[in-house]
Symmetry: C2
Subunit: 455 residues, 2 copies
């Protein structure tokens, strides 16, 4: 077997990179659990028919077949074909419906899993990647306050990560839909889809497409672009939108409702976590199912990476005909984030292995003794491994050094034990039943190297 090469779009990390990724995943899980979200996992596959219901995304689905499938098998029946999930929202909707009789609503869940998309791989775009989602879903009615709270949960999670500072940009579908309707558009979704491309195609591109796809006149185009240009760190956007609406003679009840909601999001965020959430009236989110607050998040100084945490409110995550399940949720693109941290060397893991102590072996005959020392350390929560061989002491030190293992345990000829910090070279007498490493050395640490870290 010749040396294999990486598959484009399917990122893998060396052990030191995996420590970074695992650290990020641990912090996310910890934060979500502190907020009372229950963890679930769904299977990797969904019926293809469920995956392609939203036309937008069907190009990207990976379909499965068994290598030895035969005519008459499930795989030959299009109604029974399975595909890999491309996000965690479609599976969560299905899970909610399937188990609604066994879940307690409002149901707060987090879900951290890999998803797959058959897209052409690019920088920050993968075919296999981790998403970390939180959603609250209700049976019947979902209180508005969750639209205020969920981005703040994500703000807590992101603030705990070794990443640069970030900004959560928030908008409300009711504002833009109400405004567009007030401007005289019938197909507000078409307008929204064009505005969603603003960053990519620029104002001139938007103008052309609005004219062609939504039959917009010059005044309407100007109003749409003006609305999308409103960004405020406080609730002053309300006055700006009202002024713009006044100029264009727009009055709409849904617009007013949206303004009140977004104002509440901004005001509460300013109380609880000042400086993190801003109003950005250009945020559209392409997916049609959002109906209220929508969110995007950028890393400050890494805006080109795109949004690392997005989501919104949907009135109908799922319905079984009798009941509907409205919800609100956000999703972090973990792999995109971790890939940036690793590939640009923004973070550093303190070592490549979990081991705190390498227990040296002075002769193969005494390996059992070294093994007992390691077991005593482990029993007290100190990760320990025994040297692979009774090589010269210098070689055993190098084994530890190459992996970043901070301590080497030595059983001396007189029967006493000592532990050596190989970073400082300091050595002290120690007992395997009592010695404790500094707390900072207990686990590999991951630190942000860049200055201007997220405080």
């Amino acid at each position: 077997m010749a040396r294999p090469r990486p598959l484009s779009g399917f990122p893998e990390w060396l052990p030191e990179g995996r420590i970074v990724e695992q650290h990020v995943l641990d912090i996310l899980r910890r934060t979500f659990e502190l907020h009372g979200f229950a963890g679930i996992e769904t299977r990797a596959v969904e019926p293809l028919s469920e995956l392609v219901r939203k036309g937008e995304i069907d190009k990207e689905v990976y379909v499965l077949r068994r290598l030895q499938a035969e005519p008459g098998d499930d795989e030959a029946d299009p109604a029974k074909q399975l595909g890999l999930h491309f996000d965690l929202t479609v599976p969560f909707a299905r899970y909610t419906l399937e188990n609604s009789g066994h879940l307690d609503f409002p149901f707060k869940r987090y879900q951290i899993q890999k998803v797959w998309r058959g897209e052409r791989p690019q920088d920050g775009r993968f075919r296999e990647f981790y998403q970390a989602d939180i959603d609250v879903v209700a049976e019947g009615e979902l209180p508005f306050h969750y639209e205020v709270e969920l981005p703040l949960v994500m703000a807590d999670a992101l603030a705990a990560l070794p990443i640069p500072s970030f900004t959560i940009r928030v908008n409300n579908r009711k504002i833009v839909e109400g405004f567009y309707r007030g401007l005289g558009f019938d197909d507000t979704a078409a307008v929204l889809r064009v505005i969603d491309k603003l960053e990519k195609i620029g104002p001139d591109g938007v103008r052309t497409q609005l004219e062609q796809q939504a039959g917009a006149n010059e005044s309407q185009v100007a109003a749409c672009l003006a609305l999308a240009s409103i960004r405020t760190a406080d609730t002053s956007f309300v006055a700006q939108v009202r002024a713009l609406a006044g100029e264009h003679g727009v009055t709409d009840a849904m617009l007013e409702e949206g303004l009140a909601e977004l104002e509440r999001v901004l005001a509460t965020a300013a109380e609880l976590n000042p400086g993190v959430v801003v109003a950005d009236l250009s945020i559209a989110r392409g997916l049609d199912y959002y109906t209220g607050t929508v969110y995007e998040t950028v890393l400050n100084g890494h805006e080109s990476l795109g949004s690392i945490c997005s989501g919104g409110r949907y009135d109908q995550l799922a319905t079984d005909g009798k009941k509907t399940y409205p919800g609100v949720g956000l999703s972090i693109g973990v792999s995109r984030l971790v890939s940036r941290l690793i590939s640009q060397g923004l973070v550093e893991a303190s070592r490549k292995v979990p081991t705190v102590v390498l227990v040296a072996v002075s002769a193969e005959e005494s390996r059992l003794e070294s093994t007992r020392v390691a077991a005593q350390l482990r029993a007290r929560g100190i990760a320990a491994e025994v040297s692979p061989s009774a090589a010269k002491f210098g070689k055993q030190i190098r084994h530890a050094d190459r992996r970043g293992i901070p301590f080497v345990w030595i059983m001396q000829e007189d029967g006493t034990h000592a532990v050596k910090d190989i970073r400082s070279g300091e050595q002290e007498a120690a007992s395997p039943a009592a010695w404790e490493p500094p707390v900072a050395d207990l686990k590999p640490s991951v630190t942000l190297k860049e200055t201007g870290a997220n405080e």
Copy 2:
């Protein structure tokens, strides 16, 4: 959308079941890290050509294609087709070769991921399931002592789980191959494959197949069956095998080497973890690549479940033509284990959510105040959520009770705070800056209900 139904072979758990699964996964990871194993993850896919190199398993592979793949795309080129991995060994071998220049050998890694097999689902047999693997792989030469140590790492891991007691059954390929060769068989692998089916087809089935597939005579069949019947909890198997070999005139250097190795595994295990490891000369392990010690593990009283943790030593996990990478590893079938625990009600999670405290809301106007209390608790590591609505107090208690949340936080009209243990009904004055729940309540606990637990 009608209520969806579960997909056979793709297990999913309700939140309380996921707490059990997550608890098991956490303990495994924790134990592996305490022993100094570095965690890695590999992508879910491998080139199909790599997956089907071992003929035995090719029926089970799921092949991927993009829904919109066109002629000329990678998916149309058989050499570039991708399949889902069916175990974690093939991907680990590929990862080792691909990154050999960046890894430190001997490389100890753990890997906990889902794998997929297109098998017909049955009890304990899934199409998607978790495996938890540990392996040590060396460049060039792997010291024998790892064959002694690795099953003891798994014994530590399994002993920490909420499962019944277990037995690790060990054999050595050199014993059986040397013995078969000494009996006059040329194709020892063929004999091994038949013996591997002993439990399934019984002695008569083995007799027939040995005669047909290996040309065995009556004395050879008797010798093979006699060898497979040797099971000892100590090193007395050595004398039994030697006696049997003497009866049949078998002398073989490899047999002697295998006996010495297995003796060392049993002797060391008896020193470090008495009663867990037994010698069982019937253990064959179907896969051809094992070359030394082989392992299987059964849950005592649940032998019908089959092996929950298996593996062995292989001289050549991978080779790039210049270097070879021998290793030894074991794999736990986590889903098989967890499914048994959940479906037979052997374990119980103390609650359905991570939340320790539900902070009550007396009126929607004071939600912010409740949110601040929850934030204070979280800052000290206490999982807290705020009540979804300012409903009657009894309804808020029921919200906690249904989920198993042990404490409700109450802000009283006089401005003081109290916390109520809803299990006992006891209520005490409390400050969000100082109150601590009992340590046992900090996280959901998972306990084995069955008597005869693994001590």
